[in-house]
Symmetry: C2
Subunit: 187 residues, 2 copies
Amino acid sequence: MKKSAFKLTIHMVASLDGFIAKKDNSVSWFETVDYYEQGVTLTEQDMAEFLKTIDCYIMGSRTYEHALKLSKSYGWVYGDVPVIVLTHRNLPVDRPNVELYAGDLNNLVNERLKPNYNNVWMAGGATLAKDLISLKLADEIRVSIMPIILGEGKLFFDAIGQEQTLHLKGATAYKNGIVDLHYEIIK
Amino acid sequence: MKKSAFKLTIHMVASLDGFIAKKDNSVSWFETVDYYEQGVTLTEQDMAEFLKTIDCYIMGSRTYEHALKLSKSYGWVYGDVPVIVLTHRNLPVDRPNVELYAGDLNNLVNERLKPNYNNVWMAGGATLAKDLISLKLADEIRVSIMPIILGEGKLFFDAIGQEQTLHLKGATAYKNGIVDLHYEIIK
C-alpha cells in the first residue's frame, strides 16, 4: 500500500470543564443519557469504518493499565492494531501487537511511526499529550466533549505552559449530546 | 411587557484547554485569526439582535474592574443594560445602570432578578460561576471555545467540586474558528 501523508492525532474524551478522569478513575460518566434532537447519528458501522483508518495507537502507561483492566470485562478495545505504550516501567504485555517504548519521543515519531504508519492516534495520557504538543510532534487534536461538568479530576491539558494556535477543522454534535471538536495544530 | 420565563445563563469565552484568562490578564488571544470554511457567519446585525434580548448582566468584581479598564479604550460594552456586580468591596460606580451587590446569591436571583428580568447573563467570574452552579441558580451555560491552547491561566470551572449533568441545546461553529456550545443545566 502506498504510504500517504503521516498524521498523529491526540484524542481525548473530556467533560465540559476539561477533565479526562475522575479522582477515583470511575468511568460511568462516559455513558451519557442526553438526547440532542438536531444531532448526527453515529452508527456502529460508521464507527467501525472510522476505526479501520487508524493504523497505530500510542498511549501513556496509566491509560494502558486502565485498558488492561477494562479488557477483563469488555475485551481489548484496540483489536489487532499495533499499540505502543510510552513507559519506563516494566509493565505486563500479553498481546503480540503491544510494545513498551522507553526511548525519546522525537525518535519514536520520526523513526518508528512516520516510516511505518499513516494515521496514528494518541489514545490517552496527560503528560504524553503535553509533551507531543510542546515538541510540535502532534498534528491534530480531537476532543469529544461530554454533556457533563465533573467538578474535579485530572485535567488533560494541565500546565502545557505554552500557547498553541489551532485551526478548526470540524465540529460535530451527535444525538447523544457529545460534541466532537477537531483541530489542526499550527506549527 | 409580559413577563416571560426567567433564564439565567452563564457565559464564558475559553481556550480549548479551559482557561478564561491568562496570568497576565492580556486579552489579545480573543482576536483569533482562524478561518473555518464551513462555519456560520455572524454579522454585526445578528450580534446586535442577540444582545438586545439580554435585559440584565451580573458579574464578579474582577470582571467588572476589567470591563472598566477596557471601557477607557473601547467604551462600555454593556450599553444601558443594568449591570449588577457581586462584590463586598467598595468599587467605583460611575454609570446609573451599574449597581454593587454584597448580599446573598439566592436572594439576588429569586427576589431581585426573577421578578424584574427575563434573560440574565452572567458575564464573568470563576467563583460566581461556581456558586451559581453549586446553588442550582443557573439555568444554562454557553461556552465560546477559541481555537487556541493557552497552556496556563485561570480556569473557569476550577474546583466546582460536584458533578452537574448537562443537556446539549446547540453547537455552532463560526467562520472565525470559534465554536459556541450551549447547554441546559439539569436540575
